[in-house]
């Protein structure tokens, strides 16, 4: 159990001399509290697995430090870090039974046999593996194997954090839910720090209290699922989280007004000191733009198609060349090729060079 601090941590597979832009993980400083459930979310190649491997010690950082409860563990080997890791593909020891698999980490550390047996029983119970304890681990299904990998981490009483590297990739969809709720339950019961790497936003948002969104080797935002949804700190977060993602369109912003294709949109806050020369964009989630009948005063758009997701409908429209998605209010029937867009000003955000600009009230 530990609080984890990352201090100016960075890594390049090409060594420390590589150009800063080529770093797989660009310098990051953040603190993860003990007992938290964190998700590292981002597309393939964004550096999330690198960050995870730095924490587990499989990769040694080019720069910076990792602290567990304030103690610098950067130079320590994986064995000495007391972390557990569950990999993308189940790692089980083929020749051993489920029980022997669970006992393996304790046996390697020379724990007395009676204690091992007790721990293994307890963990097997926790993971519903008790009926399989004497079976060969190779014969089990993928989700049971992942539980064994997880169990090998949990079986050690001193484990500081459990790291998950896309652990549900090979699991069937209906079992994914079960296993994820199991993880949630374990997290509540055991008060362990869990770090979960995934490229699946649903997985990240349902598992974690804090989601760390990564893009191109950088942490672009770290926050609760609600924060990520309501106030994306980076256009990438807006676009990556949510389905459909946030609308991001170029605009001219002055004071409390944004102009999209020359049409004014009211803003809730005032933006007077935007950095000169920056690329200014306006971002708004489709959930906060309604389609209405074309009317003077409304931004007009060409309707391309309507996506009916069952509980909600989204209109895919075009403003000039820019693609845009907007909610179709219940009961509204779309007629004609053009529609007006009604913005909810409190959810329209302004971005300068892809980063959120906080306006003044």
């Amino acid at each position: 159990m530990a609080r984890i601090d990352l201090v100016d941590l960075a890594h390049s597979y090409g060594g420390n001399d590589a150009a800063p832009e080529s770093f797989a993980l660009k310098p990051v400083t953040m603190t993860w509290r003990q007992g938290g459930a964190y998700a590292l979310l981002g597309p393939s190649g964004c550096g999330k697995t690198t960050l995870l491997n730095l924490i587990s010690g499989i990769v040694t950082p080019s720069r910076g430090q990792i602290l567990f409860d304030g103690a610098d563990i950067t130079p320590l080997s994986t064995q000495k870090r007391n972390i557990a890791q569950v990999f993308q593909f189940p790692v089980i020891y083929d020749t051993m039974t489920v029980g022997q698999n669970l006992a393996f980490p304790l046996k390697n550390r020379g724990v007395p046999k009676a204690e091992i047996d007790a721990r293994v029983k307890q963990i097997a119970n926790l993971l519903d593996l008790t009926p399989h304890l004497d079976r060969k681990a190779t014969r089990l299904t993928a989700d049971a194997k992942q539980k064994i990998s997880l169990g090998r981490g949990l079986v050690r009483s001193d484990v500081a954090a459990i790291l998950f590297d896309e652990p549900l990739t090979v699991i069937d969809p209906e079992l994914k839910w079960q296993l994820r709720s199991k993880l949630k339950a374990l997290h509540r019961d055991l008060d362990l720090t869990m770090i979960y790497v995934t490229h699946d936003q649903t997985e990240a948002l349902t598992f974690a209290d804090t989601v760390v969104v990564m893009h191109d080797g950088r942490v672009v935002q770290s926050g609760t699922p609600a924060e990520l949804f309501d106030k994306p700190a980076h256009t990438f977060v807006g676009y990556f989280i949510g389905s459909p993602g946030m609308n991001i369109v170029p605009a001219e912003v002055t004071g409390r007004e944004a102009r999209i294709s020359g049409h004014p949109i009211a803003l809730n806050r005032s933006y007077d000191s935007l950095p000169p020369g920056a690329k200014i964009e306006v971002g708004v989630r489709p959930e906060f733009v309604d389609v209405a009948a074309p009317a003077p005063g409304l931004l007009s758009a060409n309707i391309e198609r309507i996506d009916d997701l069952g509980r909600v409908r989204f209109a895919r429209v075009r403003i000039g060349d820019a693609k845009f998605a907007a909610r179709v209010p219940p009961g509204f029937s779309v007629s004609g090729e053009t529609a007006g867009l009604v913005f909810n000003p409190s959810h329209v955000h302004v971005y300068a060079d892809s980063r959120l600009v906080e306006g003044t009230a």
């Binding site: 020891y93 981490g153 090979v170």
Partner: protein
């Protein structure tokens, strides 16, 4: 779905039938025919029924004694070279680099002995071991070790075994290396996290993951050493005495040396049968080892 019946397909298979008939079935039948007869030359044959087979399996007769003695030597030889080459091959594979330019260098060096023809290997060791001009023989003798594979049984065996190890350990090592390379990194990382020692990594991960290639390696090495002919024939000629006369050498002596076609045919049939049985046992073991795995393997 309806199956269309098209008898013309037989014509496509016919060439294969013909080739197999001429290359395998007809020669085999000739051997079966010879094995039931005795000949005194002049192309005169006399019916002998299963007489040769009875003699073969009876150690008190000349033929049986020679066959069973050479079979025993052959089994001992196979057992010894397996006991050396398999562990040695594993050790070599484990100590090979996992990546970088040195991998290619190691592979080339390992593959070299495999590329040399059998009788060249025999000749190399025949000269290498000679006490008068061979580097090995001369060195050993000048160190005070009395080494002579022509006159000493133990030296002859040692030479033949070392030669086989030199020639074929590479094959085991290459197979094991392929097996090791197929283990995903996650296994090593998990073992590291689980605090496994080097030995535990070997027994819990590497050996189990190599078991299939090891089975193939053992099968190949057993078959090949059981059929060995050229190398010991070139080096020792089966001597001193009969001490390194293996089954195939005995067979050639009977068939071509004495021109006892009936005895030789019976011997080669039994020899063939032993090899078939061993193959079948290995095949069964291997398919059963495969059946233990679940059908879905994931994208390992």
């Amino acid at each position: 779905m309806d199956k269309t019946i098209n008898q013309k397909a037989w014509f496509l298979v016919l060439p294969v039938f013909l080739v197999v008939a001429f290359s395998a079935i007809l020669p085999l039948m000739t051997v079966v025919n010879y094995s039931m007869q005795d000949t005194f030359g002049n192309n005169q044959f006399f019916w002998n029924g299963v007489g040769w087979f009875k003699e073969l399996l009876d150690p008190s007769t000349d033929l049986g004694g020679r066959f069973l003695a050479s079979l025993g030597r052959n089994l001992l030889f196979s057992a010894i070279i397996l006991a050396i080459e398999v562990p040695l091959g594993i050790v070599v594979a484990l100590s090979m680099p996992r990546d970088g330019w040195s991998v290619a260098a190691c592979l080339v060096i390992l593959a070299l002995p495999l590329l040399i023809p059998w009788n060249v290997v025999g000749t190399i060791w025949q000269i290498f071991g000679r006490p008068d001009i061979g580097l090995l023989g001369y060195t050993l003798n000048s160190l005070g070790i009395n080494y002579n594979y022509v006159s000493n049984e133990f030296d002859a065996w040692a030479t033949v075994i070392v030669m086989d190890v030199w020639h074929w350990t590479s094959l085991v090592a290459l197979l094991c290396y392929a097996g090791l390379k197929s283990i995903p990194d996650a296994y090593y990382q998990a073992a590291q996290i689980d605090g496994a020692s080097r030995w535990a990594v070997f027994t819990a991960i590497q050996l189990p993951k190599m078991n299939r290639v090891l089975l193939i390696a053992v099968l190949l090495r057993f078959m090949d050493s059981f059929m060995i002919y050229t190398e010991p024939f070139v080096v020792t000629g089966g001597g001193p005495g009969n001490s390194t006369t293996f089954v195939s050498i005995e067979l050639v002596k009977i068939a071509l040396g004495q021109f006892d076609l009936g005895k030789a045919a019976a011997l080669s049939l039994v020899y063939n049968l032993i090899i078939l049985i061993v193959c079948w046992v290995f095949y069964t073991v291997m398919t059963n080892a495969g059946a233990e795995r679940p059908v879905k393997q994931g994208a390992e």
